[in-house]
Structures are given as C-alpha cells and as structure tokens.
C-alpha cells in the first residue's frame, strides 16, 4: 500500500531506510513532512489522541478514576518489587556457602491477612468504579437537552445522522460546546468501535444492535479518533473527526447541512454532475437530487468537509484526483468483492474515469458546499 508520494517526503519510510533507522536507533519523531495522513496539522498538541487529556466533564470523571487506580497500583507495585529485590539481595547465597535455613512451611495468619487486605482494597476501588459506571451509562434526561446523533459504522467510514435536523454526513461530526451529546451507534456490516479518546471511552457499533455514548465538550476545537474494533482490511484507515463549536456556530453549521444541494447549471461542474449520475449514483446520495443510495458517504455538503476517505485524506483537489484515479491506491480496499444486492460494500471501485471526467467531477464536488 503506498501513499501519494511527494518527492522525498515519504521516501524516508521505505524499507532499507526503515531498517537502517532501526539499527542506528535514530529517532524520527520530528519529521512531520507533507504526508496527507499527517494528523499533526489537523489538531494542536503533540498527542492528539491522548486518552488522558480529557476535554469535557464526563471524560474528566473517567480520567480521575483511572489516576486513582493507577496510583494505587503504583504503590502496590513499589511495595512488592521492593520486597522482591530486598529478599534477593538479603537472602542471596554467597559463593559456595550454604546457609542453614529454617524450614518455614507457612504462616496461616499472615496468609489470611494477605488474602483479605487485597480484597478490601479492591472493594474500596469498586465503589467509585460502579458509581462512575452507572453515571456515564445513564441516558440523558429530556431536560438535559442532549444533542442526539445516530452513528453507523461502515467498512471503512462513519455515517453520522442528525435526526433533529434531518441530514446525514460522514466521518466528520460537529457538536455544540457545553451541551451533552448522546450517540446511538449501530453498524451496517461488521463490528466497529467509535473512539475519540479526548471525549469518551470507545463503544462498539454492532450490526443488529444499538449502543450509546454520552459525552460533552468544554473546549472549542477539533478532536480526532479512529475505529477501535478490528473491522477488516482498512481498519487502520477508518478515522473520524469531531469539531466542537459554540452553540450559535453549531446551529449555523447544522442549518447549512440540512439544506439540500444546489445543482450546478453550467460549465465543468454541470459536466461533473452528468458523470456523477452515471458513475457514482448507485452508491452515493446527494440530498435534494435523484441520488439517494446509501452504500457510501452522503455527499450533499462534501465540499464543507475537511477530509474524506474515512477522514484519512485532506479534502484537496490533488487528493481527490488521486482518489478518483484509483481509490485503492490510497487506502487498502477490496471493491472487487462488492455485492450491492447483498449489501456488501468493501470499498470504492476504480471506475476507470478519464482525466476529463475526473476534472469535471472535482468541479462538481466543489460546488457541494
């Protein structure tokens, strides 16, 4: 699998050099380069998927629970390993000198103590664990005014439906700051798992079932995540982005998304719409037009998105062109095994488009703002 290579940018990751890097023990951390999958440019911060950097009140609770248990574990580890190392050093047999040792077979009181003490410690840990568990798993009450979003996992992209506003989008979720968001997840094919570490723990999207995630953001910004349940070939390339806005900005975005598409009437964009109707319409929907299929991402406001291809590629003309030439060259997929009648979609096929058709399609897609 190769990514579009700009001269010199990704070359350094090729095999011989990767080996050389290993041998030399050199560190390649600082070279962000120009790679389309470099997520450093999308989000601020060195570790954008850090699960220990919570960005909202619910994530905070989980985080403080983790640290509580972590520090308890550290204390136990230090005590036990100190005891181990001390015993080894203290009771080590010197060369050739066999010490006569008292044959201790056990000490019932001591053994009962070290059975009960850990049990008590664990019982103490269980209290905040269960209370936090029930708290984060409780559905929001109507007065919480939670935003409901339906999340549907697909191989290998995410579909987001906003029933309150009546539109569907893909891979990029926008949410209002300071308002609870309640996700209802399911899957169209295999099991996926929705995970944006800074916002909430992951939850599986299971075909035939629904699961839920409750989260809330208290800072404006972009949060990234990726599918966390192995879902086949391009599991690693199934990503998502969550944008948190002040309430008013979110409302404006949602209303714009809910508007149907305006079809072009002239030029390359119109030609692109013609191509779309023959090549793309069996899988993609554009609201307000004759395109209604739901096998692939809804493209009604495609141009308003920052990324595509499971949020792995920046939404630029260059990447779109490369993608339309042969999608599987950018993301590992097996479209040759698609079976639309059976509902099995394993990637976007190479449609054999001409360069002209690609140019027209891109012109059309750019009108979908």
């Amino acid at each position: 699998m190769s990514l579009p290579q700009r001269k010199g940018a990704s070359r350094r990751h090729r095999r011989p050099l990767a080996l050389a890097v290993l041998v030399a023990g050199l560190v390649l951390t600082a070279c962000a380069g120009d790679d389309p999958t470099n997520l450093g440019r999308v989000v601020d911060g060195d570790v954008p998927q850090n699960s220990l950097n919570p960005a909202g009140p619910i994530a905070d609770k989980v985080d403080s629970l983790f640290w509580l248990v972590f520090w308890m574990a550290v204390v136990i580890f230090v005590i036990v390993s100190f005891g181990l190392v001390f015993a080894i050093l203290r009771f080590r047999e010197r060369k050739g000198v066999t010490r006569s040792v008292r044959q201790v077979h056990g000490n019932t009181r001591l053994e009962i103590a070290w059975t009960i003490v850990p049990a008590v410690i664990l019982a103490v840990v269980a209290v905040p664990t269960l209370s936090t568990l029930f708290e984060i798993r409780t559905a929001p009450a109507p007065e919480d005014d939670a935003l409901e979003i339906e999340v549907i996992g697909h191989q290998w992209w995410w579909e987001f439906r906003y029933p309150e506003y009546g539109f569907t989008t893909a891979n990029e979720m926008h949410v209002p700051m300071g308002r609870p968001v309640y996700l209802t997840l399911t899957s169209a094919d295999v099991i996926h798992s929705f995970w944006v570490p800074r916002l909430a723990g992951k939850r599986d999207a299971v075909p035939g079932r629904t699961t839920n995630i409750l989260f809330e953001t208290d800072e404006e910004g972009t949060f990234i995540g990726q599918c966390a349940e192995f879902c086949g070939l391009a599991h690693a390339d199934m990503r998502q982005r969550v944008f948190s806005h002040p309430e008013a900005e979110f409302e404006a975005w949602a209303l714009a998304q809910a508007a149907p598409a305006t079809l072009p009437t002239e030029g390359a964009a119109l030609a692109g719409w013609e191509v779309f109707q023959t090549q793309c319409i069996s899988c993609h929907a554009i609201d307000g037009t004759s395109a209604t299929a739901q096998f692939a991402p809804n493209l009604t406001h495609f141009a308003s998105r920052t990324s595509f291809a499971g949020a792995t590629l920046d939404n630029t003309e260059e990447h779109l062109r490369e993608w339309l030439r042969n999608p599987s060259s950018l993301k590992p997929m097996t479209p040759e095994r698609n079976d639309l009648a059976a509902g099995r979609v394993l990637g976007m096929p190479d449609l054999g488009l001409t360069e002209q058709q690609i140019t027209d399609l891109i012109a059309f897609l750019e009108t979908l703002r």
């Binding site: 790679d35 009771f91 044959q103 077979h105 000490n107 059975t115 664990l122 079932r209 070939l233 099995r344």
Partner: protein
C-alpha cells in the same frame, strides 16, 4: 530393555508412546513454532517502527497479527506446557507413564496436524486474517476467501488434541499416583497441570460449538452470527471469551506451577503456604469461568452486567495476589541460589506483578472503555503471557533440562539469555502502555505522523529484536550444551521432588521400583530432616533402594495414532474446499478410521517388552 529394529531413528519417534519422548516432541515442535511466531512478531514490529510503515501491506499485516497470536497461544505456549506436563507429570506423581499412552501419542499427532494445517494456509492464498478471536460477522463475511475456514477448522482440531490430553492427564493424576502420594502431597506443578486439564475439558466444548457455527455460517449460510438472519454477533463474543478467558489461565497456570517448584528448590526452603498456593490455583480455575465479559466492556452489555463482571474481575486478583505473596514468603529467609532457572522465576514474579496490576485497571469499566483494544491491552497481556507464561516456561526448561538430557545448560550463557530477554521484554512491552493510553488502537497496520506515537513504537521495535537476540543466545546454549555440556548427575539442584531421585535422563520405565511416598517434597525428606529449630539436617544413613521388581510392562510403540491423525489433516483440507473437497474428506476419514480401528485391535504390549 531390548530395542527392536524398527525402534530406531525417525520411526522410533513416529511410533513412540513413551510420555517422555512425546514430551520432547511437544517441546521441539513448540520451539519451532516459537521461531515462526517470533518472526511474525518481528515483521509486525518492523512495519510499526516508523509512521506509515511500508514494509507490509494491510493484507499481509492482518494475516501476520492473526497468526502471531494464534501461533503463540495454540502452537507455542500450550504445547510447551504440554511438553513439560507430559514429561514430568507422571514422574512427579511416581508413575511409569500416563494413563493412555497411545491416546497421548494421538493427542500430539493431532496437534501437529492442526499446527501444520494452519501453517499451510500461508502458502495457499493467505493465512487467516480476522484476528485470533475471529469476531463475527467479520469472520463470516467474505466466504469466497477460505482463510477463516483454515482458522475455524485449525482451532477446532487443536482443541480436540487438548481435550484428549486433558482427559489423559486427569485420569493419570486420579488413578496412577504412587502409594502415599495423596492429592495434597502432589507437587504444585502437577496440581496446576490438573487444574489446567479441567479448565480445558470444560472450556473447549464451548469454543467447539462456536467454531462449528462459524464454519456453518461460512459454508452453509446458517446465520448464527448474522444480524440480518436473526443471529447475533455478540453471542460469538460470549462463546469465544467463555472459552478464551479460562484459556488465559490455561496459559499461565503451568508457569505458576513451575515457579512454585523452582523457588523452593533454589531457596532451600519449602513452598510457603503450600495449600494456600494450591487452593488459590483451584480458585483461579473456578473464577476464570466467571470473568469472560471483561473482554466485552465496550460491546454494550448494559451497566448491570458490566458492574457484575467488573467485580468478578477485580476479585480474581485476590487468589493471584495470594500466590505472589506466598512466593515472596518462600524466598524470604531462604538461601537463594541465583541459577538461571531461579532468575527466570524471579523475573516471572516481577513481570507478572506488572501484568497483574494493569489487569486490575481493566476491571475499572469506565477507564477500560479507553484502554480496550489499544496497545495498553497489548502491553498488559504480553506482561502476563510473555513475562509470565514464557518466562515460567524458560524457568522450567533450564530447571529440567539436565533431567531430560543429562547435561546442564551453561550458566553464563543462561544468565546472558535471561538478562537480554528481560531487558528486551521490558523495552518492547513497557512502551506499549504509553502507546495505548496515547490513543493507538491494536490491529492497525499503520499509524499516521503527528499522533505522537513515533518514539515509543521505535523503542518497542528495538526491544523486539533484543528478545530475538536473547532467543539466539538460548539456541547457542542448547547447541553448546549438546556438544560439550557438563554431565548433570541425578540431582544437580538439590531437588525436592521425585524426578531428582532417578537418573538423568530417566530410564524408559522411570522408576525401577515405584516409590512409596511419605510426605510432600518426598525426595527432600529422604535427604534431610528438620531439627528442633526447624533447620535442615542431612540424613546420613540413606536407606538402600529395594531390589528391582520383576519385568515391567511398558506400552508398545504404535504407528496408528500418527496414521489416524494424518487422515485428520487430509480431512481438514477437504473441508476447506467444499464441495469437491468431499473427496479428500472421504479419503481422510477412511485413513483416520483405519488408524483408529488398527489401534483398537492392537495388543497392548508386545513380546519384546516382557
């Protein structure tokens, strides 16, 4: 013992029914697969050494991580434990063989058939690529590619091998102990082998049904796990982990048994709180069946079920903790000899404590939802299964090597092996805790730049090659010992249990005279008594061994077990390529029936053993 002509060479190994030879076969096969699984791991680590790695395709990567886990669990750790159990369980309880020697051979050859069958898939269109856990409906989705058929059938037949040897070991323990060897006098390793056998006996039928349903879903469209057909993908997870969690204890308990033998020997002290250690092992066995859903804390079971499994998961840490404290109690006040087996056992304790504590953090459901399916979990179970099971097995190998081969592995090379493996292990898996918490999911063939994952991935890769180097050191030690190893003598470690009372290597019939056991650690008590202060005093007048008994009847060699299992291999291949594979299914079934029929008609002992 006279040896007949077809008792020699390869034929001797192919037809053996001697538990010791079968143990050696298991051990060598496991070591071979350890190399295979290790190479798979090195490829994975090379791919992940840098962001956007291009050494492997996504397709190749998915095959390799699936086969790495499948190989290490089913073809390395389980058979390595089976090797030591086969070789030493009968000797430890004072028996001349297992209860069913030919069934024992059959178990081994069925295991070989399953292992080869899984490996063959690499050369015929690709190995299984749906994860060792084979979550439906991904595992039942693309039926025109047969990779997951190889997986479902391969695991099925490996399960058969394990069930058969469990029955064998359980029967051996309950019917063949030497006089005086009461259950509570059995060495802890024998106890843990017994617990493991029960775990396998009760957990494997669950996965057997599950795998059969996956196979039927794939080949007959039954839809057990298809939501569209009214099935339920989550049901598979329940069945898999109802097997899969006891399986974790199947992997770790033998190592715990080994450690419980090695620590007393090299501390010159009995095991502290022996019955507590045994009963905590039994408790782990029982509780191991009640924690499976902690593998499913993100599947949406509902808060009540999640709370229940959170509690059971926390409390399985209690018997595990008991073992750790009792081991510390064992070395405390001892006279500790830091020989290589002891180093591995002490390393086991240190690493297992880390893995155990990170395991407790998984029981905290809300934070587990962050850690689940990330490298944090990968770090956790490698601390338990590599730092635990593999270190325990190496401890056992260094401990019992002189008994099996009659030669001592070199101590200096052994120490080098230990330290390289210990450092490499921590270099590889400690950073994975950070990677997981920093948001790196498992089973991803690449990660983007800018996620802050680059440094620790590189460190982990360097660590993995350090582990590989340590293994080369071990093989060097093996080779060197075979060439110029020091003769071990019967009792090189001042051992406590019966295997050290017989020659190294043991005679084919193990004991000239079946020993009469008077206490736990019986062999130690033949050498020492305790004075009033509780110190060991050497017994000066060693009672002379009674004269050998009359003729000893040993099971004859038989080629039928190997023959029957070769039929199973053909049958499995046929099942993958239905419908025309039915021809092979038929041919394989005929060979298997021929083997089983010949076996049932065969006389138990041949004349020349009289």
């Amino acid at each position: 013992m006279t040896e007949t002509a077809h008792h020699r060479g390869m034929w001797r190994w192919l037809t053996t029914t001697d538990h010791k030879k079968i143990g050696i076969l298991y051990g060598i096969t496991a070591m071979g697969f350890f190399v295979v699984g290790g190479i798979e791991a090195l490829f994975i680590r090379l791919q992940l050494a840098t962001p956007n790695g291009e050494i492997l395709s996504a397709d190749a990567y998915n095959q390799l991580f699936t086969m790495h886990a499948t190989t290490m669990v089913f073809l390395v750790v389980m058979p390595a434990a089976a090797a030591l159990t086969n070789y030493f369980l009968p000797i430890l309880i004072g028996a001349r063989d297992v209860a069913f020697p030919r069934l024992n051979a059959f178990s081994y050859w069925v295991f070989v058939a399953g292992g080869l069958f899984l490996t063959v898939s690499f050369f015929v269109g690709g190995a299984p690529d749906g994860g060792w856990f084979g979550y439906a409906p991904l595992s039942t989705q693309v039926t025109e590619v047969v990779r997951m058929d190889y997986w479902a059938l391969g695991l099925q037949v490996l399960g058969l091998a394990s069930v058969l040897s469990s029955v064998n070991f359980i029967t051996t323990v309950f019917t063949m102990r030497a006089p005086g060897m009461s259950l509570m006098r059995m060495p802890v390793f024998a106890w843990m082998a017994t617990v493991v056998s029960f775990l396998l006996l009760f957990s494997l039928p669950i996965i057997t049904i599950g795998l059969l349903q996956v196979f039927l879903d794939r080949n007959l469209g039954t839809g057990f796990y298809s939501a569209a057909s009214g099935g339920d993908p989550v049901l598979w997870q329940h069945l898999f982990w109802l097997f899969g969690h006891p399986e974790v204890y199947v992997l770790i308990l033998p190592a715990m048994g080994i450690v419980s033998e090695v620590l007393p020997t090299f501390s010159r002290k009995p095991l502290f709180g022996r019955s507590f250690v045994i009963f905590s092992g039994i408790a782990i066995g029982f509780m191991g069946f009640g924690v499976w859903a902690h593998h499913m804390f993100t599947a949406g079971l509902g808060p009540v079920a999640e709370a229940a499994f959170s509690l059971t998961t926390m409390f399985i840490a209690v018997p595990t903790g008991v073992k750790i404290f009792n081991w510390l109690g064992t070395i405390w006040g001892g006279s500790i000899r830091l020989k290589t087996p002891m180093l591995f056992s002490l390393g086991f304790i240190f690493l297992f404590v880390i893995g155990g504590l990170s395991g407790v953090t998984h029981s905290i459901v809300p934070s587990d939802a962050q850690q689940h399916d990330t490298y944090y979990v990968v770090a956790h179970f490698h601390y338990v299964l590599f730092g635990g099971a593999v270190f325990g097995i190496f401890s056992g190998l260094y401990y019992w090597w002189p008994k099996v081969t009659g030669k001592l592995l070199n101590e200096r090379i052994g120490r080098l092996h230990f330290w390289l493996m210990f450092i490499g292990m921590n270099l590889t898996f400690a950073p994975m805790h950070i990677l997981g918490l920093n948001g790196m999911p498992r089973r991803t063939y690449r990660y983007a730049e800018g996620l802050g994952l680059d440094l620790w991935n590189l460190v982990a890769t360097i660590g993995s090659f350090t582990i590989a180097a340590s293994l080369l050191v071990f093989f060097w030690n093996w080779y060197r010992t075979a060439k110029h190893g020091q003769p071990a003598g019967d009792d090189p470690w001042d051992g406590r249990t019966l295997e050290w009372s017989i020659s190294s290597p043991p005679p084919e019939h193990n004991f000239d005279v079946i020993p009469v056991v008077h206490s736990e650690d019986d062999f130690w008590h033949r050498k020492y008594t305790e004075n009033e202060a509780g110190h060991a005093v050497t017994v000066t007048a060693v009672p002379s061994a009674p004269a050998a008994e009359g003729p000893i009847h040993l099971p004859s060699p038989s080629y039928y077990p190997a023959l029957a299992s070769s039929g199973i291999f053909v049958l499995l291949l046929g099942l993958v390529y239905l419908p025309w594979g039915l021809i092979a299914v038929g041919a394989g079934a005929v060979v298997t029936m021929w083997g089983l029929f010949g076996w049932s008609m065969e006389p138990l002992t041949r004349e020349d053993h009289g």
